[in-house]
């Protein structure tokens, strides 16, 4: 029952980290879409790990589905 209401503007995830990203995104990355600048610029290493995950999944699928003769 202590969780914030739906759409609460003063909830902890909406007040602590994200306003800084929204306010400085244009100035620092020159990208209007904040999600894009977060994904590719502020959290680029996260995206790198994500591509590693999906690459590994692709390799595993190929290894599993290859028929041995």
């Amino acid at each position: 029952m202590d969780m914030p209401d739906w759409g609460a503007t003063d909830s902890p995830p909406n007040t602590h980290v994200s306003p800084r990203y929204i306010e400085k995104s244009i100035e620092e990355t020159a990208t209007p879409n904040v999600v894009t600048s977060l994904l590719a610029d502020y959290r680029g290493y996260d995206t790198l790990g994500e591509t590693t995950v999906i690459f590994t999944a692709g390799i595993v699928c190929i290894l599993l589905l290859r028929r041995y003769r």
Binding site: M1, W6, A8, T9, N14, V34, V35, E50, I54, L64
Partner: protein
């Protein structure tokens, strides 16, 4: 009553998560278990997305890029969107690997029912152990 109406997103994701959990535990078909796992992950994604919503805000795309001071109350929280984008990618990867494993299981045992596979395994008497 207030905690049901104004916190309805949590109830939605609790119900979805319990549906997925029930499917994962009680179904014996492996494909149904996999679908249950997907419903579970979707519930978690909905939870994170609903945390990031603000009343009176729009999607986090800055409309007027020449304004120096951007008012952060006008735009939704972009962080859950980004994190759930990563989570969706991980979800698709796990789904792909699981489907590949299911195809391998079906090739070997010709069934996807868990009790039938266990029956076949018991009748095999483990020929490779010695």
């Amino acid at each position: 009553m207030d905690f049901i109406i104004s916190k309805f997103n949590y109830w939605i994701y609790i119900v979805l998560m319990m549906i997925g959990f029930y499917a994962m535990i009680s179904k014996s078909n492996l494909v149904k278990k996999l679908v249950g796992m997907n419903i579970f992950q979707t519930a978690i994604i909905l939870f994170f997305i609903s945390i990031g919503s603000k009343k009176g805000a729009t999607i986090p795309i800055i409309q007027d890029s020449h304004v120096d001071a951007v008012n952060s109350a006008l735009y939704m929280n972009p962080l859950p969107h980004v994190l759930m984008l990563t989570a969706i990618v991980v979800m698709v990867s796990t789904f792909g690997v699981a489907v590949a494993l299911l195809i391998m299981i079906y090739r070997k045992y010709k069934t996807l029912e868990e009790d039938e596979i266990l029956q076949i395994l018991r009748n095999e008497k483990w020929p490779n152990t010695h």
